[in-house]
């Protein structure tokens, strides 16, 4: 399923979606950025509660399909602009990381 389809079919807010056609091929949950860098896989939907420009950089480096901010976390405008410029999709939700992962279970397992 693409990020665009996933966002449409689920209770998620689209903060920016420069590459709606990216395919979600897995899910990774983590907040320690250096750890995420080493373990998230290309195509994963990365669920996190961290919010600053660094997450956009980590997403670029790992080439995840999107960032999903859990538990009502928001991202400031400057970081969002950086995400747009670098083709990083950012979604958000009031759900917990666990419940966001459940939304993905039929898509990627």
């Amino acid at each position: 399923m693409t990020v665009g389809e996933f966002a449409k079919q689920n209770p998620l807010n689209v903060l920016c979606m420069p590459e709606a056609e990216r395919e979600i091929t897995g899910c990774y949950i983590g907040d320690l950025l250096s750890w995420v860098m080493g373990n998230a896989r290309e195509g994963d939907a990365w669920v996190t509660i961290m919010s600053n420009t660094n997450i956009v950089a980590v997403a670029t480096l790992t080439n995840v399909s999107c960032i999903i901010l859990a538990e009502n976390v928001t991202l400031d405008e400057q970081a969002l602009n950086t995400a747009k410029e670098n083709g990083v999709n950012v979604l958000s939700s009031n759900l917990s990381a666990f419940n966001i992962a459940l939304l993905l279970k039929d898509t990627v397992v």
């Binding site: 950025l33 250096s34 750890w35 420009t53 660094n54 956009v56 950089a57 980590v58 670029t60 480096l61």
Partner: protein, 183 residues
């Protein structure tokens, strides 16, 4: 990174890449805070570049377009309610006293504080990787301190000694560990 000492290693490698011949690594602990200062005499940066290094999309690396050393260090300090500062004087503008100084203050009691970890290994790794460069390492905890000055070591051992010889590195490691035990 799960240890601040790895951040220190990362930041100090920047200093060495900038051609630093003497790098100060100063850790000062009070009851509630840890202040880390890394000060080098390398080529420094222009004020514009200095502003940019906190942005992970700015890097001197050519193999990828993001750089995390400084942004991560800033993040781990700020997430404890601490602070971060980087100042630099470029060799071009200040031919006599150039270099870069990074200062990070951590609140040790904050739940998101990352432990310092194995700082002795970090110091040894730096000397091993850069035996031609000098390091002044000082860790002050209240009244006590741990000190290593490789310039002094060279004076005692003679200039022709290579600091990354196994026996010397081992001696430095024990020297530091002994001081930590007495801290």
């Amino acid at each position: 990174m799960k240890e601040l000492s790895l951040n220190i290693l990362d930041i100090t490698e920047n200093s060495l890449k900038a051609g630093s011949t003497l790098t100060h690594i100063l850790l000062t602990e009070t009851k509630n805070t840890l202040t880390i200062v890394i000060k080098d005499n390398g080529c420094g940066m222009s004020s514009e570049m200095c502003k940019n290094v906190i942005n992970p999309f700015f890097t001197t690396r050519t193999t990828r377009k993001v750089g995390f050393g400084i942004p991560f260090f800033k993040l781990v300090a700020e997430q404890t309610g601490g602070s971060f500062k980087i100042e630099s004087k470029s060799q071009k503008e200040f031919p006599k006293n150039h270099g870069t100084c990074v200062t990070a203050v951590f609140n040790k009691n904050h739940i998101d504080y990352t432990p310092l970890g194995d700082i002795v290994s970090t110091v040894i790794t730096l000397i091993q990787g850069h035996p031609e460069s000098d390091f002044y390492f000082k860790h002050t905890v209240g009244e006590g301190e741990v000190l290593l000055n490789t310039q002094e070591l060279r004076q005692v051992l003679g200039d022709d000694i290579n600091l990354n010889e196994f026996e010397i590195l081992n001696w430095i490691k024990d020297f530091l560990k002994e001081q930590y035990e007495n801290l």
